[in-house]
Symmetry: C2
């Protein structure tokens, strides 16, 4: 029955890559909301028309592939907790499907010769990360109220920079 | 140079699928924040440990593959606008990489014989949709302020139910 669907593999092809100041994960911001670090998307030129209207959004989702993630773990200690937690309860990259999401502040879109450059603020990913998708952030869809943040509400570590526990670099 | 990275394909395998009341897109909610429709994740049993700590979050991201999306379009008219807009400026499924995200309200996690059932509220996807990832929604990471919502702020259509313009069903 339906459970059979989950055997099918799904293949994606990056639409570009993300340039950031972080060639290794040591010292990289752990979350985009904790940093003003600048990054830039190098988007394939063929997608120029697909950006129409994006320039008027202040915030965008980037969906990308954690290509430097270490092998999948069912549980890890995230940066902000001493507790072992399920990988679906944290945002670490060592996931069954290593898709990352960051909400970043859109700064500028410029067409170059061979690609489109999209500058943003809030870079929390490694330089060269393959980009899968861009979506607009819409308050009415994405900003939630009455939120319980689970373990994060009683987090016992306060850091905002990464180390290499989750990545091979 | 780096632009070569984008030629590499990336392959994911669903972690389960999503059961919803919507076998076709006609009448399906267009956004999870606009509906209290109930859905359930049927998660592969091998990921039971990966859920530890998730139960204390009120909201979770579901990342899934729009397996019924029509072919990719660079521009579309979204449900809420009469204007043709870039696919990266809207949330429609006909994307270069057809990944959907929904933020849903977590209700209950129960281990069954052959799978884990995760009940949620805010179903806005088709029944049987292959699930790629679950992430916790964290206010400090995900709730943005000073947001400009682009075309959405001057949207000229008010509906909250889908039709089949974007999907084959």
């Amino acid at each position: 029955m339906l459970m059979n669907k989950i055997k099918n593999e799904i293949t994606y092809c990056p639409i570009g890559f993300i340039k950031t100041p972080f060639d290794t994960s040591e010292g990289m911001p752990i979350q985009s909301s904790f940093t003003q670090a600048k990054g830039a998307i190098f988007l394939r030129k063929e997608f120029q028309k697909a950006l129409k209207g994006l320039e008027n959004f202040s915030h965008i989702y980037l969906l990308y592939h954690f290509d430097k993630a270490r092998s999948m773990k069912l549980q890890v200690k995230p940066f902000l907790s001493e507790e072992m937690l399920g990988i679906f309860a944290v945002r670490a990259p060592n996931r069954p499907n290593s898709i990352g999401i960051s909400i970043v502040r859109l700064k500028q879109i410029s067409a170059k010769n061979d690609f489109i450059e999209i500058q943003f603020e809030g870079a929390d990913m490694l330089n060269g990360t393959p980009l899968l998708d861009i979506k607009p952030y819409v308050m009415d869809f994405d900003s939630q109220t009455d939120v319980r943040n689970g373990w994060y509400d009683s987090r016992d570590i306060e850091i905002n920079q990464s180390d290499n526990r989750f990545t091979k670099d």
